[in-house]
């Protein structure tokens, strides 16, 4: 029963989603969309599991003063610090929304003739709304996100440039016929893509274009078709319970 019920649920939902793919009907589409929404919500809630895992492993390492415990402490401080900052931002967002509503209510309750000065209640509500909006805009959370997280993320991504160079250096060694072909194709494509390539030989851009459009596309499509058939096979195995990676427990 422990295995059968999840397999039946998977088969039912899987077959229904396949039907949705082929059939055009409002009812089928509505139910399928609803099921997809359930999936999204369930996955979103699962973030709690991740936070608990992170806290458990790193807190234990810090308390037991294991190797590199300092890094783990920094991680915990950052995680809980960011959570707190996020909470504060959330509160301020609510406060700003409340102030905005109060302003709208004050404007509705105190109609002003055209050209006349607004009544003190409206002025006060507007000032309160502006202050609340500013407080919601400039928070520790926003500051850390914009000034710390985004640059760090970009830094890690930028490492890719150096890694591409080192991986290319290792790969482009003509040790065999295949690697020699790779080297020749890569050199033509690289030279053909920079302005100096055209200066060296006017046909370099044409040649690189031919390599990218024909042999490269053909190879990619071959892999794509194989992968698509593999995906269909794996999908059917999972839907009909022949392979059950989701039930390993």
């Amino acid at each position: 029963m422990r295995t059968l019920v999840p397999v039946l649920i998977t088969a039912f939902v899987g077959v229904f989603m396949i039907l949705k793919f082929f059939l055009v009907h409002d009812g089928v589409r509505t139910v399928a969309n609803e099921l997809e929404q359930w999936g999204v919500v369930t996955l979103a809630f699962a973030i709690i599991l991740g936070v608990l895992n992170l806290a458990r492993i790193n807190l234990k390492a810090v308390l037991e003063r294991k190797r590199d415990w300092g890094y783990k402490l920094i991680l915990l401080v950052c995680m809980f610090g960011m959570m707190t900052a996020g909470g504060v931002k959330w509160y301020r967002d609510i406060d700003a929304a409340r102030a905005q509503k109060a302003l709208e209510a004050a404007v509705a309750a105190n109609p002003v003739a055209e050209g006349a000065a607004p009544p003190p209640a409206v002025v006060e509500a507007r000032r309160a709304s502006e202050v609340a909006e500013q407080r919601a805009k400039f928070t520790v959370f926003t500051f850390i996100f914009d000034q710390v997280y985004t640059p760090l993320s970009a830094t890690i991504y930028a490492l890719l440039a150096f890694y591409v160079a080192s991986a290319a250096f290792r790969s482009f060694r003509a040790k065999s016929l295949h690697s020699a072909l790779l080297l020749i194709a890569a050199v033509i494509v690289m030279i053909g893509r920079v302005p100096v390539g055209k200066v060296i030989w006017s046909k370099f851009p044409v040649l690189q274009d031919w390599i990218m459009v024909w042999p490269n596309t053909a190879g990619q499509r071959a892999i794509l078709m194989g992968a698509a058939i593999g995906m269909i096979a794996t999908g059917i195995r999972v839907i009909f319970g022949i392979e059950r990676p989701y039930l390993k427990g």
Binding site: I18, F21, F22, L23, V24, H25, D26, G27, V28, G39, L43, A46, I47, I48, L49, G50, V51, N53, L54, R56, I57, K60, R67, D68, Y71, L152, S153, I156, Y157, L159, L160, Y163, V164, S166, A167, A168, R170, S171, Q220, I223, L224, M225, G226, A227, I229, G230, M231, I232, A233, T234, G235, I236, R237, V238, I242, E243, P245, Y246, K248, G249
Partner: protein, 336 residues
């Protein structure tokens, strides 16, 4: 007197069957195609008004269930695959041996775990970046099950780094179950199942940290990867680990091929769990996908031939209908 017919070798039979199926596909598809070639819907059945409430029964769209003809090729592939699978499964159940070609990348996984055992260091496994709604993640977790089983037999710890918390839970149970199956439950270390971050580059930084601090002897990447693939693989190379990757993301395959020792490319990655499990029904599905490829291949060849011929034809004048050959090429493009 008994007469003996010479039995044709299996590959010939298979080729004949595949060619026949390809021909059938090729002939069946035009039957459904109209002038607009695979761009319409056909009514499958009408729902009786008594099945619906009064408001719904006045809505014409809700009364009719239509079939999307643009998706007909997918249906044909599904039906063909299902038929092949059933035939092969029956064969497998009757005791026939379903042979699969050797995949060096999968053999290398065992080698990688053996190396980790010799060096007394852990194995690092990453089941891709996506959540469990991605089929590549499910395939990756299936491979993890085998990796964890072999590692448990060798008494080697496996570190699993996850980007999604649901995947983490699944991996945790997978490794626990594999250790139990190997008869070594004590090898399972819960703290080696690690959720790092939902953010792509924070996760990458976390994995790089594990590689450089804990020095795993083998890094196995199986799943869906994006631009972080080369950052991970190069860091693994710098740390001196043997690396086996597998993904169906075409854009990331060159990076893995360049930086890893072995790479499972596309379909190999999906076949890996079947290859490792040796279960007849799973092997049958892999053979079925091979048969399906044998069907697709002649269709592609016919398409290439027709496209080449159509290229020599003058383009149709304004208002005049395209030639039969151009229509056939257009149809094949949509089918493929």
């Amino acid at each position: 007197m008994t007469t003996y017919r010479r039995r044709q070798p299996a590959p010939v039979k298979r080729l004949r069957g595949a060619a026949l199926a390809a021909l059938l596909t090729f002939l069946t598809v035009p039957a459904f195609a109209s002038d607009r070639i695979l761009t319409e819907t056909v009514t499958l059945f009408r729902i009786p008004a008594s099945w619906l409430d009064a408001a719904a029964s006045t809505d014409a769209d809700r009364m009719v269930v239509k079939f999307d003809v643009t998706r007909l090729p997918v249906l044909i592939v599904l039906v063909l695959f299902g038929s092949f699978f059933l035939i092969l499964q029956m064969k497998a159940r009757s005791g026939a041996h379903l042979a699969l070609r050797r995949l060096p990348g999968i053999d290398a996984i065992e080698e990688a775990i053996g190396r980790a055992t010799e060096m007394g260091r852990p194995v690092l496994f990453i089941p891709g970046l996506n959540d469990i709604d991605d089929i590549q993640t499910l395939a990756g977790v299936s491979i993890l099950s085998h990796v964890a089983y072999i590692a448990a037999e060798y008494d080697t710890p496996v570190i699993v780094a996850c980007r999604r918390s649901v995947v983490l839970t699944m991996c945790e149970e997978t490794v626990r179950q594999a250790c139990l199956a190997a008869g070594r439950p004590e090898v399972f270390i819960p703290n080696n199942m690690r959720y790092l971050s939902d953010d792509q580059f924070a996760f990458t930084a976390g994995v790089n940290g594990i590689m450089l601090r804990e020095k795993p002897a083998s890094c196995i990447y199986q799943g869906c990867f994006y631009s972080e693939s080369l950052i991970l693989a190069e860091t693994g190379f710098v740390s001196g680990a043997i690396q086996v990757a597998g993904t169906a993301n075409i854009s990331q395959l060159p990076f893995f091929v360049a930086a890893c020792d072995y790479t499972l490319i596309g379909e190999e990655f999906f076949a890996a769990s079947a290859y490792l499990s040796k279960e007849p029904s799973i092997l049958a599905s892999i053979k079925a996908s091979d048969w399906l490829k044998m069907v697709v291949l002649p269709v592609i060849l016919i398409g290439v031939l027709l496209a080449t011929l159509a290229a020599f034809e003058p383009p149709p004048k304004d208002g005049s209908p395209p030639s039969q050959r151009q229509r056939a090429v257009q149809l094949l493009k949509e089918v493929l």
